[in-house]
Each structure stands twice: as structure tokens, then as C-alpha cells.
Symmetry: C2
Subunit: 452 residues, 2 copies
């Protein structure tokens, strides 16, 4: 459904939910795709969400909804849901989706649910839950379409016709006697080869695989670099554990990009912030603001140190914010570019000299440009040539330093094995506040000392 029609539909669902108009809601929901109902959820209040959920007739759609909402919305939807109904919906899901939903369920419900879902599924779910949530093992589907290398095309097609439970078949994985993955073939290969061609003859033997403990971000990079529809997850003995499909990879890429953006401004998110409760959001944001506070207090101490100069020449205080502000912004720009470059694999720690050399030139040019502008303004407004010169020099130095620091910090974090996005922005801006403050007060007071 195109975006504008989707909006109208979402609006209709919201209106009906708000009016508690059950029967028309059932009608609208029957004409809507599950994915679109899920897209409507974030725009509804908790009670409205539950009202919509109760009026979904189709089990597939109800299951789809549980798979596609965030943690707090999920807790809300299952709050008044009978346990049997929840188990029924879980049993209808693919195992990887089922695992994701179970992992997000409130703890007290989770164990009750685990005890009741189908035994086969339970084993798979337990295996998947054993892997870290953000690893290849944690996001894979534990089922794949697999056959022995001796089978031929005709047998493969027959197997495919019988394996209705394997929902997403993109490739056929070929195993040897020891159960090791030895090749891969596409469905298209099955169609375009004579029926009695053996899989061993037609398969590609150089299979790109990932280990189960690989970070999901790296898995996403592999799938996207080689344009795969699915990548097989194999253990140390090359035994197939499952597959990560391209639709899950898309979710990972979206998630990680959002996470990077949030981390950079110091929002540590358990889930999407705009769906979390107010107090939870406060907790997510409070910690890194402390950096800014501590930095700010240190600046106050700097000002205290130069108190006499400020008392004698109050306008000195007026240009501190612009110097540290410009430094902070140019530092944020450099940091963002570097963090993104690292995430996309275009920049890495050993490129540090090249990156710093570039950034220092950029910072210097930007600093000079704005330094001259600001010096001219100071001169014209306050008729203090030496003060104007001091402000100009300070802002140039602060901006050049900021550009360098903004690129060094993420690269250093990356080398130390820390996520380079972690609170880069509060960290860089606060550091630049301090460095800029010291530069500013030293330079200007030295220059205007004679006039004080």
C-alpha cells in the first residue's frame, strides 16, 4: 500500500479505535495487511492498541502484530491476553520470530509460555536464546532447505514441494556425508539444469558463511557486500546451524544506524526511545549529560581563575560561548563523519594519520574563515583591535583542534574495542568546551593584558 493510502488507513484505524467502534474496525482490519496494522500501532494509545488487537480476526495478522511491535507495546498487547491464546499465536510463527517475541515478553510470562509451546519449537527457541541477541546465532532461522550432495535436481524439486514448513527458501544448501556444508545452489539452478543433474555437479562450492557468534552488524555487512538473499550460519565443523535472511539484515541495518545516531548524542537505548516510558527515557539519557555537567563546572572554574580579568573587561565573557560553540560543532561534524566511515568500513584505526591530516587542514581552513569574520565583528563593535585579534586566533585554534579531536576520538575508541559512537557528541563537545576555554582565556588575556 503506498504511503499516502497507508496514512489514510492508519488514520481510519485510529479513529475507530478511539471511538471504540468494534464492528467497523473488524471490517477495516480485514481489508488491511498485517504489516500495515503493525505500522499503525506506534500512533495509538495503549488502550487503543489493545482494542485493535482484540478485534483482529485473522490469527496470522495477530501473530504478525506481535512480531512487529516494540518491547513496551508488546507488554501492553499481551497484558490481558489469555495464556493459551498467546501460545497458540506463538506456535503459528516462524521459529526465529517466535524466539524474538519470547525474548521480549515480560519475564513472569516468559517461563509460563516456554513450558507450553510445541516441544519441537521449544528446543529451537532454547538453542536460539542461548546465543547473544545481536549475534548471527541470535538472529538466524534455525531451519534451512538442505539436501545431500548425491541428490539430483528432480529429487530436490520433490523435496521442495514437500517442505512446506520451510517458509523462506532462497537457496538450497548442500551437505556431505558428515553433514558439513559443501555447496549452495539457487532455485533458479534447479529450474535451469536437467532433472538428473546431481547437486554436487551444479552447486557453487565457494560458499560465503558466517559463524554463529559473529556480531549482527558484521553479518549485515557480509550480506550487503556480496548481495546475498541469505547467508548460512555454520559452526566450527562447517555444520549448518541456520540461515540469516536479507529481511532480517535490513532490520539490523536500520536498528544499528538508529543506535549509532542515538549513541552519538548519548542516548543509550534499550528500545526505541519514543515508545519507552518517561522515566525509562530519563534513565536512557541522564548518564552522558553528566559529562557535560562536569565539563561545565570545570569551565566555571576556568572563569573563576580569570575572574579578575573578566571583572575588569566583562565583554571577555561574552565571546567564550561562541568560541566553544564553534569548536563543539566542527568537532561534532568530524566525529560524525568518522563514526559513519567506521560503520561503513571505509575508515579504520590504521588510517588515522591520513584522516587526521585531512581533518586538520579542513579544521584550519574553517577556523581561519570564521576567525577572520569574528575578529572583524569584534573590531567593528568594540573597537579593541587586540581583543578582536585574540578572539580570532582563539576560534581558529579551537576549531582546528576540534576537527582533529573529533576524528581521533572515535578512531581511538574503535582501536580499544569500544563502540566509536558511544556518546561521541557529549564527549567531544565537552572536551572542546574545556580546550577552547583555556585557549580563549589564555590568548585574549595575554593580548589585552596591557589594556587592563
Amino acid at each position: 500500500m503506498p504511503e499516502n493510502l497507508l496514512r489514510t488507513r492508519v488514520e481510519a484505524i485510529r479513529r475507530l479505535a478511539r471511538r471504540r467502534a468494534g464492528r467497523p474496525l473488524v471490517n477495516v482490519l480485514q481489508k488491511t495487511r498485517g504489516e500495515d496494522v503493525a505500522a499503525a500501532m506506534p500512533h495509538l494509545a495503549p488502550a487503543e492498541q489493545r482494542f485493535v488487537f482484540e478485534h483482529i480476526v485473522d490469527d496470522g495478522m495477530a501473530a504478525e502484530l506481535l512480531v512487529n511491535v516494540g518491547e513496551s507495546d508488546l507488554a501492553n498487547l499481551v497484558k490481558q491476553l489469555p495464556l493459551e491464546r498467546l501460545v497458540e499465536l506463538l506456535d503459528a510463527m516462524e521459529v526465529d520470530d517466535e524466539t524474538d517475541v519470547i525474548a521480549l515478553l515480560p519475564e513472569q510470562i516468559r517461563e509460563q509460555v516456554m513450558a507450553r509451546i510445541e516441544k519441537d519449537d521449544r528446543q529451537h527457541v532454547e538453542e536460539l536464546l542461548a546465543w547473544p541477541e545481536d549475534s548471527a546465532g541470535g538472529i538466524m532461522q534455525p531451519v534451512a532447505f538442505r539436501l545431500h550432495a548425491d541428490a539430483n535436481c528432480r529429487e530436490a524439486i520433490q523435496a521442495l514441494q514437500e517442505s512446506e514448513d520451510v517458509e523462506s527458501v532462497f537457496y538450497l544448501y548442500v551437505e556431505n556425508d558428515a553433514g558439513q556444508l559443501v555447496g549452495v545452489a539457487s532455485l533458479r539452478n534447479l529450474l535451469t539444469n536437467p532433472p538428473n543433474t546431481s547437486l554436487a555437479e551444479m552447486m557453487v562450492t565457494e560458499v560465503i558463511t558466517v559463524p554463529p557468534h559473529m556480531d549482527q552488524e558484521e553479518v549485515a555487512r557480509v550480506v550487503s557486500r556480496y548481495d546475498l538473499l541469505a547467508v548460512p550460519v555454520v559452526d566450527d565443523n562447517r555444520r549448518l546451524q541456520g540461515i540469516v535472511t536479507v529481511d532480517d539484515v535490513i532490520d539490523v541495518i536500520r536498528e544499528e544506524a538508529a543506535e549509532d545516531m542515538m549513541l552519538m548524542v548519548g542516548v543509550h537505548q534499550g528500545e526505541a526511545d519514543e515508545q519507552a516510558g518517561v522515566l525509562q527515557s530519563v534513565r536512557q539519557r541522564v548518564a552522558w549529560l553528566l559529562i557535560t555537567l562536569v565539563g561545565g563546572i570545570l569551565i566555571a572554574e576556568l572563569a573563576k581563575f580569570w575572574e579578575a580579568d573578566i571583572g575588569a573587561f566583562p565583554i571577555l565573557a561574552g565571546f567564550l560561548p561562541v568560541v566553544i560553540g564553534m569548536g563543539g560543532n566542527v568537532g561534532s561534524q568530524a566525529a560524525t563523519i568518522t563514526v559513519r566511515g567506521i560503520a561503513l568500513g571505509r575508515v579504520e584505526p590504521r588510517d588515522i594519520l591520513r584522516v587526521v591530516w585531512r581533518e586538520s587542514r579542513i579544521g584550519l581552513i574553517l577556523g581561519l574563515a570564521y576567525g577572520v569574520m569574528l575578529a572583524i565583528y569584534c573590531l567593528a563593535r568594540f573597537h579593541q583591535p587586540l581583543f578582536g585579534l585574540g578572539v580570532g586566533i582563539a576560534i581558529t585554534a579551537a576549531m582546528a583542534t576540534a576537527a582533529i579531536a573529533g576524528s581521533i576520538i572515535p578512531l581511538t575508541l574503535e582501536r580499544m574495542g569500544v563502540d566509536p559512537a558511544v556518546a561521541t557528541m557529549p564527549f567531544v563537545t565537552t572536551l572542546m568546551d574545556l580546550v577552547g576555554g583555556v585557549i580563549y582565556f589564555s590568548v585574549t588575556t595575554a593580548l589585552i593584558a596591557s589594556t587592563l
Copy 2:
């Protein structure tokens, strides 16, 4: 190839290119995938890039490289390449890749190339170039696997066997007599239905399509919402124009996320900044820093207005940076969360009241927490209860206001049809500098007036 092996390989390529060791380089390149050679490019100097490119024996790999590098690297690679060779490589590409490369070529080469590529391709390329670069039409492949609804499975399989030029076949598109798209079938459907089933019987008739002028970001949302491998692009008459495949969608999602992050800190990027020249980068970053400069000058004017107070009580100047800094950071957090929410379709302009109500509470709680801390510090350090109270009140007010402004601004930009990420950060922080400055000076001077 796993990331650590890839790194070793990239390192080897870089070392050999640096040493100008042609023969060993040819050997290493022959054992490396084209995608991995492309991944090595950003880590090489221009002359090294050209050296590597000259030593690629396999045409497919050379073509792959041209498709996967950025604009400035591409210009570098083709600089000394004979025109015939470039045309040869272009002719070997899929038409959508060919179009992308041609669009990125330096202008003087582009026309010469267009005149020489295969005639069939030229027509397709011209059609694709007619669509905006970031629309469905601009990113689609103009070829798709399509058949008439009367055909049966056997005929479809035969057609598939003969259509070797259609490289990425994910779905079979079914058309009626008028050439309109009436249904879609998967390759799996072809395998699991009896050979003489007609396509009309087995196809899904509710096809999700996109129009050619749809923005690529919206196309990406459609593909990801419905977990598609490809989405057909149809004109107003439902005639199939081409398909957008999931691997292109992944690139779009990466690109748009990077673009959002860059735009937020005011980096207007033509291409990835870390590959651009120094002066080009300066141009990309310079404009929005002006906002900060103008804001900074206005703050200096504020300080000038309260000059007498600062002269009498210099420490007043010392706490201005922390108040505006905390406001700026909390405002950036709110803005980032809102921008991301809009990009993911979870927040939209009409949710403004709900969002602002949430953010105002979060900002108030954060402000109170830090206001109390800072007030206690002021009191303990400077023994000025009224000044401490003033600083506490000012920071609380500034942070609450910042959280609200940080969420209102992107939502308002979105409503106005402007990309909500555009320079949100410099804009929000600068605005908060000013608002915070006025709040701070007014509150503190009012409270300590009696002591001055």
C-alpha cells in the same frame, strides 16, 4: 570472506600496491572476490588505486570495482583509462549499474561514453537517467522476468532457461493482453505447481507496486515493511517499467541513514565526506556553522547587555556555558530521537502533542535533577545561596525548553515538507544557546540584584 581475513587481504593488496609489485598483486587479485577488492579501495591513495585497477585481469572484477567505488574514486580510476576499455566494461554491466556509473562519470567523459555504448543499453540508460537519481525510476533495473498470464508453468521454466541476460530473477511478473501487470509468482511456485498450471491460476493478484517517481526512501520502507526481495515499478497504466531489488534497497537504507546523521550536524554531503577533497569538505560543512556564529554573536550581545552585572560579579559569566551546554545537549537528544522516529515512520507531525507532552516531562525531570546538583555545587563553592538558586532554576528551565524545542523543530520541518534532519543540531543548539542565555542572565541577575 570473514572480516578478519578480509582485513589481511586488504592489507596485502595495499602493501603490494605501495611497493608497485605488479606480478604478486595480479596473483593476490585473482584469488580475491571483486567485492573485497572494492572494499580495499577507500584505504588506498589515488595512485595506488589506479595501480590495482590496472592489474585486474578479470573484466567482471574491473566492472564490479567501478560500480562499487564513490564519485571521486571513480573519477580517479577512469582518468587514465582508454575510452574503448571503459565502454567495454560498461557494456558488461547490468543496466542499472551501468547507469549509476555513467551518472557519476566526469561530465566531459560522460557524453563520449554515451555515444559509444551498445544501442539497446543506451536507450535504457537514457530512460533511467530521465528519472531523479533518488526515485524508484532512478534506482530500478529496467529489465524484469515477465510473461503473459496465459502461459503455463512449463513455458515459464523454459523462458527462464532461455533468459540468461536477466540476472536477478526473484519473481515472475505476469501481464495481461494490454501489457498491464496483473500478478506475481515466485520461482518456488513454478517448482511446486504441476507443469501445465497456467500462470493466471497460480499467481498472486494483489501485487505491491511502486510508481517510478516515488522517493527511494519510501521504496525502501515498502520493501522492508512487506519483506520483499524485489518490488515492481509500474506507471499510471500499471505497465511494468522495471524492478527495484532488495540489494539496492539495502544500499538506499545505508545511504539515507548516513545522510540523516550528516545532515543533522550540518554536513551537506554530495558524496561520502571522507572520500572528498579538503576544499570540497570545507564547502560541505561551512554553511551551517554560520548559524552557530550568528548565534554566538547574539550571545556576545546578551553579555554586553548585562555587562555591568558581569563586571560587578564576574563568576556570573562562568556558569553561562554549562547552562547553554546542557540545554544544547538535551535538545540534541530530543531532536535526534524525533528525526529517527520520523525516518522510521513511528512519529509524524500529527503526533506533535503526544511527543511534546512526553519530551516536556523528560526535559523537566532531567532539568530538575541537574538543576539541583548544580545549585548545590554553586552554593558549596561560592557561598551565594541566591546565585546557586538562580543557576539551578535557569538550567532547569533551559533543559525543559530544549527538550520541547528539540522535538517540535523536526516535526515542524517535516510538516513544512523540509527534510527534518537538515542541520537540526546546529539549529537546535544555537537556538538553545540564545534562549538559555536570556533565561540564565534574567533569572540570576534578578535574584542577585540585591547583592550587587
